[in-house]
């Protein structure tokens, strides 16, 4: 393999070492990745099969058909080992034309440049040799630009990217990948950096960079991206395969295993320090005894309102969209709990239970209850998030709650005061858009999905938190509308965002998982799977007052969780639970679960899935370990996964179940037995339960006693009076 000039190489290595050791703080893990990330694609399997795409339904992504045709020419010639024709065909697709999406196998849809790169990288030995003969001179010529003494700033990465994309199998491909790995690492894209270095190990085994060196670099990147298991595996591998060998980093010889372990311990101590400063909640443990104190309770649905709602539900038994079992979404930040109850956003002090602010009086909804059971409004579309000093709510003006297909608005509030900062209805470019899916705050922007009032094209938008103006937008694809209830019109699926260390994932709840770069701007890959069934042409059957279907009564929502580099997800209206390894990416396993099931939690061993039961599914074997039927009757399916116990809030109290076998350790009845149960979460030193009528906070026993007494002192004067005041206030 050709090597970089020694000066250039040494300079880069020295710089890299200094960077890792001295410059890159742990916090860099959260630094947004720039465009470098877009080059690095995970390595989906190749050989697209149209058969696999058949009958999947659901979310549709635009695929570049003309590019696909050209690419198939290459594949055809390569299969015949007609290398010259094959490479001529691929020459016609230079890197600047590899911009569309192509289908790969296993349901993957990937950027063209990634798929083409992958297919070339996996050519048989004969093809690889032919490729080198065909392209080596051109690649070396191109790469020579980097080796100049004074390269144009930023040009080396650009050139390296072109070499990597088009000529990876040539003699300079490994150097290009190494350089890109360093660049990605510098910018905090640790996962991308690891992929570049892994690409060299996987496809350029004779590289002169050295396997040990690359493995050490990979290990550091894995450690920084929080993938402890893979890090440990590499350290173990180095220990066994390279005993006693030294590696030169930054001009110093170091013993790799010792070096990596010291980095790990530094990282752990830094994390624990960060954890203290962020006041991460203490892990819940043990049962809730009968005398667990009730810290406070805020009743947002007044008794009068409840009567009106109940009456409305009885009078509209024919329709019924589950409004009676709906539990509003909430978020917690900085000691505050913020709820979005049908467009009324309110903030509560978690310690004292004081109602800090609200966007409207609670009883404003009372006049809307009469129409709500047969309203065509998608009540699952309400959402709320908070970050910095901003609260973002996907909401409707309560007066327009029952309007036909009223677009949902994105409204920004000041966290401290509840003052409305901006409203998408008043932003001209967004006034006709309906916002859908819980927004994701990324730096000074917010990523959010929209669709047109009567359309189903899903657009991803990045808006400035300061004023709601649009930074950029990108069409993700077209959703298939879902008809949950036969008595309602079809509605758009509600997507879910998940931010990982170096990517943004969008679960469409429509048969697709989309991986974007850390800014959410570039698609890295799309996993396509079975979408929701089309209800067109189905016969409708009904009888009298049949009970609500579970999927409506439980307000089943999709969910996506990440643990150890694997994402687990289950879409709403789907009966499949997936585990996807993000590093490859590929589906590790999928298994059937109930359509109404919700993925509620994950720990080191189990996934916790809820229906009217709590189920623990083994993460490795995907087997159901245990299941317990619980008196779950409404929405807000959630659980607190503690050290040894999982907690579920039901209408018969808070169940404390043994994590290992699901045994019922205790039932704490609590103060909200008149409700349907709902969300449960540890917020600071409180265990907070949000039901369909109240928000209740308990002081759990795992909170330190001194903390308890302090909190109790703070709360003592307000606990009952504020609670009752709030309740009176809420009833208008």
């Amino acid at each position: 393999m050709a090597r970089l000039s020694s000066n250039s190489h040494r300079r880069r290595e020295l710089w890299g070492f200094i960077f890792w050791i001295a410059v890159v703080p742990i916090g860099l893990a959260n630094v947004p990745t720039t465009a470098v990330a877009q080059i690095v694609m995970a390595t989906p399997a190749v050989s697209a099969s149209d058969d696999e795409e058949k009958n999947l339904g659901g979310f549709q992504v635009q695929v570049d058909d003309s590019l696909e045709t050209s690419f198939k020419d290459f594949e055809r010639f390569a299969e015949r080992k007609d290398w010259e024709k094959a490479f001529r065909a691929i020459e016609e697709i230079p890197s600047d034309k590899r911009v569309g999406m192509l289908k790969a196998s296993g349901g993957m849809i990937v950027p063209a440049h990634s798929l083409i790169w992958q297919v070339v990288a996996e050519l048989p030995a004969e093809g690889r040799e032919a490729f080198r003969v065909f392209f080596d001179a051109k690649a070396r010529e191109l790469f020579r630009q980097i080796e100049q003494e004074n390269p144009e700033p930023g040009n080396d990465v650009k050139v390296a990217r072109q070499v990597f994309d088009e000529f990876f199998l040539t003699s300079v491909g490994d150097d290009a990948a190494n350089l890109l790995g360093d660049a990605a690492f510098e910018q905090g894209d640790f996962r991308g950096a690891e992929r570049y270095w892994r690409a060299i190990l996987d496809h350029q085994p004779n590289t002169e960079i050295g396997e040990l060196r690359l493995q050490v670099k990979r290990a550091i990147a894995l450690l920084r991206s929080g993938r402890a298991k893979q890090f440990a595996a590499i350290v173990n591998d180095i220990e066994q395969r390279f005993p006693g060998e030294m590696v030169t980093l930054g001009g110093q010889d170091v013993e790799p295993v010792e070096f990596l372990k010291s980095l790990q311990s530094d990282s752990e101590s830094s994390e624990s320090t960060l954890g203290e400063s962020n006041e991460e909640p203490v892990l819940a443990e043990g049962v809730l005894p009968e005398d667990t104190p009730i810290a406070w309770q805020v009743q947002y649905l007044s008794d009068a309102g409840k009567k009106m709602l109940d009456q409305s539900v009885r009078s509209n038994y024919w329709y019924r969209n589950g409004v009676e079992t709906y539990v509003p979404p909430f978020t917690a930040i900085g000691g505050r709990l913020i709820c979005n109850w049908f467009g009324i956003v309110f903030a509560i002090d978690v310690t004292t239970g004081k109602l800090q602010w609200r966007s409207e009086k609670f009883d404003k909804l009372n006049s809307q209850f009469g129409q709500m059971p047969h309203s065509q409004t998608n009540i699952e579309q309400f959402a709320v998030v908070a970050g910095g000093n901003t609260v973002l709510a996907i909401s409707l003006n309560p007066e327009k709650l029952n309007n036909y297909r009223e677009p949902f608005r994105l409204i920004a509030y000041e966290l401290d005061t509840g003052k409305e900062r901006w409203n998408s209805e008043k932003v001209s470019s967004l006034s006709s858009e309906s916002f859908i899916g819980q927004p994701l705050m990324v730096g000074d922007n917010v990523l959010v999905a929209t669709h047109e009032r009567n359309g189903s094209k899903m657009t991803l938008r990045s808006l400035k938190l300061s004023d709601g103006s649009e930074d950029w937008s990108k069409e993700l694809g077209t959703a298939t509308q879902i008809q949950k209830s036969r008595r309602y019109q079809q509605q758009n699926p509600v997507p879910i965002f998940l931010k990982t260390n170096d990517a943004v994932l969008v679960l469409t709840n429509n048969g697709a998982l989309i991986a974007l770069d850390s800014l959410g701007k570039e698609v890295q890959w799309i996993l396509k799977f079975k979408g929701p069934p089309s209800s067109a042409g189905d016969n409708f059957f009904w009888y009298g007052n049949e009970p609500l279907e579970d999927v409506i009564a439980l307000h089943s929502q999709g969910a996506i969780l990440e643990e150890d580099g694997t994402v687990y997800f289950k879409e709403a209206c789907s009966n499949e639970l997936f585990a996807v390894d993000l590093s490859k990416p590929e589906v590790v396993w999928k298994r059937p679960v109930e359509v109404e099931a919700v993925l509620a939690g994950v720990d080191e061993n189990h996934l916790y899935v809820m229906t009217r039961e709590m189920m623990a599914i083994d993460r490795e074997s995907q087997k159901l370990r245990w299941a317990r039927r619980l008196p779950i009757v409404g929405g807000g399916l959630s659980t607190v996964v503690g050290r040894d116990t999982v907690y579920v809030f039901t209408n018969r109290g808070i169940y404390c179940l043994d994590k290992q076998n699901g045994d019922q350790k205790a039932i704490y009845r609590g103060a909200d037995l008149e409700s349907n149960g709902g969300w449960i979460e540890v917020v600071g030193d409180r265990l907070v339960c949000v039901s369909n009528s109240t928000v209740t906070a308990y002081t759990p026993p795992w909170v330190d006693d001194s903390q308890n007494s302090q909190s109790d002192e703070d709360t003592d004067s307000t606990e009952t009076s504020e609670t009752s005041d709030a309740a009176k206030d809420t009833s208008g």
Binding site: Y543, G544, E546, P547, V593, E594, W626, A627, R629, Q664
Partner: protein, 277 residues
């Protein structure tokens, strides 16, 4: 006594027998007195019985079995933990079924074929019978408290107490939104019945003696006894479909869904001979 008096007595006697006590047919001529004796004993229930259902339902058969086992174990442990004297819990047989979706059920109820995925959920279920004896020694408050404990424990542990949701449509359709959770029964039915038989025979003898006296004949020994109503009496019953009846057993005729005395009624048709004087 004149002939006229005899004639009047005979006519009255014939009318009385033909309209009230003694119904004869042309094919069934009797030479004696046949009467219907009724014995009624009111007895306090001695048993309370609750039915519950353990269910495990899932897309995968293995999951359904795991759920069923877990739910069963939880339910039994919860009930046993109550340590209520005289309370027993008994499984009445596991069944494995293909569970239908609500949409499929609706289709079938409309006489249409069920649509959708034929490989639906699998359901493993078992009805449980919870029996509490010694009820006669409890006062109403005690009994109520005990029942509430059982129902609460059942609900806490996920047993479907009372009617299964699949049968709920009957109640919705009939406008009955309250479903019975407990059945009150007699455990000593035979003993109570024996007393009722004695009472029925005594009642029959009283009636027959009265008739004999009126008729001026002497009552002889019993020549035949038949249980039930007299032949020819209109016994037609209209039976409405009630899913709850599927759980009935032989003793359910001495069962009440309310806590009150249960009446055991025995009707005997008794034939007495007339002794020649």
């Amino acid at each position: 006594m004149t002939l006229r008096h005899h004639l009047v007595h005979t006519v009255l006697f014939s009318a009385f027998v033909s309209t009230t006590c003694l119904t004869t047919t042309q094919a069934e001529e009797r030479s004696g007195i046949t009467v219907m004796g009724v014995g009624k004993i009111d007895a306090k229930p001695t048993i309370v019985e609750l039915t519950g259902t353990i269910n495990g339902e899932a897309e995968l058969a293995g999951d359904a079995v795991t759920k069923f086992r877990g739910n069963r174990q939880t339910a039994i442990e919860a009930i046993e933990a109550l340590e209520i004297p005289g309370l027993t819990i008994e499984g009445t047989g596991v069944s494995v079924n293909s569970a239908m979706t609500q949409q499929q059920m609706q289709a079938i109820m409309q006489g249409m074929p069920a649509q959708g995925d034929s490989a639906g959920k699998l359901a493993v279920s078992e009805p449980l019978k919870l029996t509490l004896v010694g009820v006669e020694d409890m006062d109403t408050e005690q009994l109520l408290e005990t029942l509430v404990k059982i129902v609460d424990a059942g609900k806490d542990s996920g047993i479907v107490i009372g009617t299964m949701p699949t049968n709920m449509n009957f109640y919705y359709r009939s406008g009955n939104t309250r479903t019975p959770l407990a059945k009150f029964k007699l455990s000593n039915v035979n003993e109570v019945k024996a007393r009722a038989y004695e009472q029925a025979i005594a009642d029959a003898r009283t009636q027959a003696e009265r008739l004999a006296e009126i008729s001026g004949v002497k009552l002889g020994p019993i020549t035949g006894i038949r249980e039930g109503n007299l032949p020819g009496k209109n016994n037609q019953q209209v039976v409405y479909y009630n899913p709850y009846m599927q759980q009935q057993d032989d003793d359910d005729q001495f069962t009440s869904t309310d806590l009150r005395d249960i009446t055991v009624t025995i009707s005997l048709q008794v034939d007495f001979s007339i002794v020649e004087e």
